[in-house]
Amino acid sequence: MQYDVAAAPGRLIEARRRPEFTSWADRVAPAAFIMPAVLTILALSIFPLIVSVYLSLARIKFEKGGVTVTFIGLLNYKKLLFGSQQFHLIGTLMPITPLGWVFQAIVAGLLILWLVTAVRRGAGVLGLVGRLLVAVAAIALALLFTSAGAEGGQLGTIGVTLTYVVIGVCVQYGLGLALAMLCVQNLRGRGFFRVVFFLPMMITPVGVAYTFRMLTDTTKGPFSPIWQGLGLSDFAWAATAWGARVAVMIGDAWQWTPFMFIVLLAAIEGQPREQVEAAHVDGANHWQIFRFITWPAIMPVTITLILIRVIEAFKIVDLPNVLTNGGPGIASESMTLHAYSTWRALDIGGSAAIAYMLLFIVTFFCTAFVNLVRTRPPARAAGAQR
């Protein structure tokens, strides 16, 4: 969809005032538009990037006269993946139960089906290789979850973070979309709802985490009478692995649904109004209008939104930190929290290694997402209006 209009004005210089300046200015327009952003980012990102990569390959010691940085190669990574911190990052893996094998088979089957369909649709070599990689990663993940879910197994921070991201973003998107659709209607007081729904995002994440800690307290929180009324006074959500994870995800959903809501609201209100009204006049019902007009119209925004939110969700740290500090055991600890607590204990190299593992996973996830989504026929609003 790139339309190179930059070339056009140059041909019109004869007819215009101040021709040299205008043409020069227009010739550098592409650079002028993008350079401020690129330069700012480069200035602040090159040095930290290089230093942190180097730190992940080194060990730091504070000694007289400064900091000594000793290069140790991939030892930090080895420790995380195969060494003493493996239980922390990857988890405790147990032999897979028969049920687990059944699940694995189903997953593998679905993936093979997907690959075959792609071949039949005529994907190029690069596309196939990419899909193959995604399939392998998906199987590895399935293996991780089934063997950590077996008796005596425990999910490490990679699995926990992926849980937070996938379930969290799905829930937040679904909620945000539903609320936006409802708020678009001509209801009395919808202005009130729009403002109110936006509030949770405005609280600083640390504040949200503490607020939820107050709310989920089973002895002095506001829900404790309900808790006790239901006979759950001996059950502590914080003492079970999934209880702690669900608590974190609830707090995360509360805080970030407004993000989805506000962007989707703007997008839904920006959909081509005449098309909607024309369809309505023609007798289309809500579902058809949603499926054929609204959904394609908000698809580009959805992709962007999910991408941005996924990247932020991978970095979740405040809620697990404040609610449970990653407990019970390591059940609710996210990778960023893992990196953070390692960093606080002055193992800067180890912390950088965890951060780069996270970067690797996020890059893989987002590249796969962007590429897979882009192969759909583009249904951009601008195109629809041409």
Partner: protein, 343 residues
């Protein structure tokens, strides 16, 4: 068009059953949103023993409210509250405005113009950086000199390799590079950035914080605004180009006004991210440039979280941003003028 809309029940006028369901769902979610805020508000007027003793729901009915927390924050600690407050406002506003400007420009460029940065240029750039790093770290050259040498190397190499290697990246790749800046957790880069600002003597200044937030938030602005710009039909701009408008004029006079909802919602989002950021604020400030999120987190001291002070701080933090969101709400909710242009 308005007349036609009022003649029949428009698509957006729900029937009674649907309206009831909508109100139920919206009301439920409004309760979910407002209850924690209510709890914060009443915690801010509770004494420690009232907080610890068990839930008290209604002031004056279940417990006697006390203004001790508010008094502590605003009277006892006035300077230590006012200074972070001012810093937060200044840093968040300035960085969001600049990020919006830079980001929208870049988004427009990525949406309308075609960029083809050659791989050879990028490689030369990386080579220059490598030379600078080696020079500074291994050979002990002062960083200013290293920077200059690296720059020179990049430029020379780029000029030399231009003709030979022409393979280039596309807009989508630039956009992906931009968003990939947000993928690394801040904890990995906070110490290098601390050292960076220390070397230029800008630690504990609002400027350093603002610059960091601008760099951190530009990717979000670019991605969000790119979608909004993409949805503006090209005919408007083509017409302007035929009329002889410069790119800048088109951007400023045609595209930006049409994107007000996008600009408003992006501005609010970026403002919130800068307003609430914790880790960089913690490290780049010490006495003068502290911001409010630090004060909130600091309420968790050795005695455990001091819920009453924290509640006060959270509440006063939300107020300005909410007010601004209210102000900008009418921009966000205004529909686009595509219909007006067409019709």
């Amino acid at each position: 068009m308005r007349a036609r809309r009022s003649q029949m029940r428009g698509i957006n006028d729900p029937g009674p059953a649907w309206a009831a369901l909508s109100y139920a769902v919206l009301g439920f979610w409004a309760f979910v949103v407002l209850f924690p805020l209510y709890w914060l508000a009443i915690t801010s007027v509770k004494l420690p023993i009232q907080v610890n003793d068990g839930p008290d729901y209604l002031p004056f009915v279940d417990f006697d409210p006390s203004l001790h927390a508010w008094r502590y924050i605003f009277v006892d600690l006035f300077v230590d509250t006012a200074r972070p407050y001012l810093n937060t406002v200044v840093v968040a506003l300035c960085s969001s405005v600049v990020a919006l400007i830079f980001g929208s420009m870049a988004a427009y460029g990525l949406s309308r113009l075609s960029y083809r940065p050659r791989l050879s240029t990028i490689a030369s750039f990386i080579a220059g950086v490598a030379v600078a790093i080696v020079g500074v770290v291994r050979l002990g050259v002062p960083w200013q000199v290293g920077l200059a040498i690296g720059l020179a190397v990049s430029v020379l190499l780029a000029l030399a390799l231009r003709r030979r290697f022409t393979r280039a990246l596309k807009n989508q790749d630039i956009a992906f590079w931009l968003i990939s800046q947000r993928m690394l957790p801040p904890v990995a880069v906070v110490l290098p950035i601390y050292v960076l600002f220390q070397q230029v003597g800008l630690l504990d200044t609002r400027f350093a914080l603002a610059v960091t937030y601008i760099a951190a938030n530009i990717p979000i602005v670019v991605w969000l605004m790119r979608d909004f710009f993409d949805s503006i039909p090209l005919e408007l701009e083509e017409a302007a180009v035929v009329d002889g408008c410069s790119r800048y004029r088109i951007f400023w006079s045609i595209v930006l006004p049409l994107s007000k909802p996008g600009l408003a919602s992006t501005f609010i989002l970026v403002l919130i991210m800068a307003w609430n950021e914790y880790l960089f604020a913690l490290f780049l400030s010490s006495a003068n440039a502290q911001t409010l999120p630090l004060t909130v987190a600091a309420q968790n001291a050795t005695r455990g979280p001091q819920w009453w002070y924290m509640s006060v701080l959270i509440i006063i933090m939300i107020l300005p941003v909410s007010a601004l969101a209210l102000l900008l709400a009418r921009y966000i909710t205004r529909g686009l003028l595509i219909g007006a242009v067409k019709g």
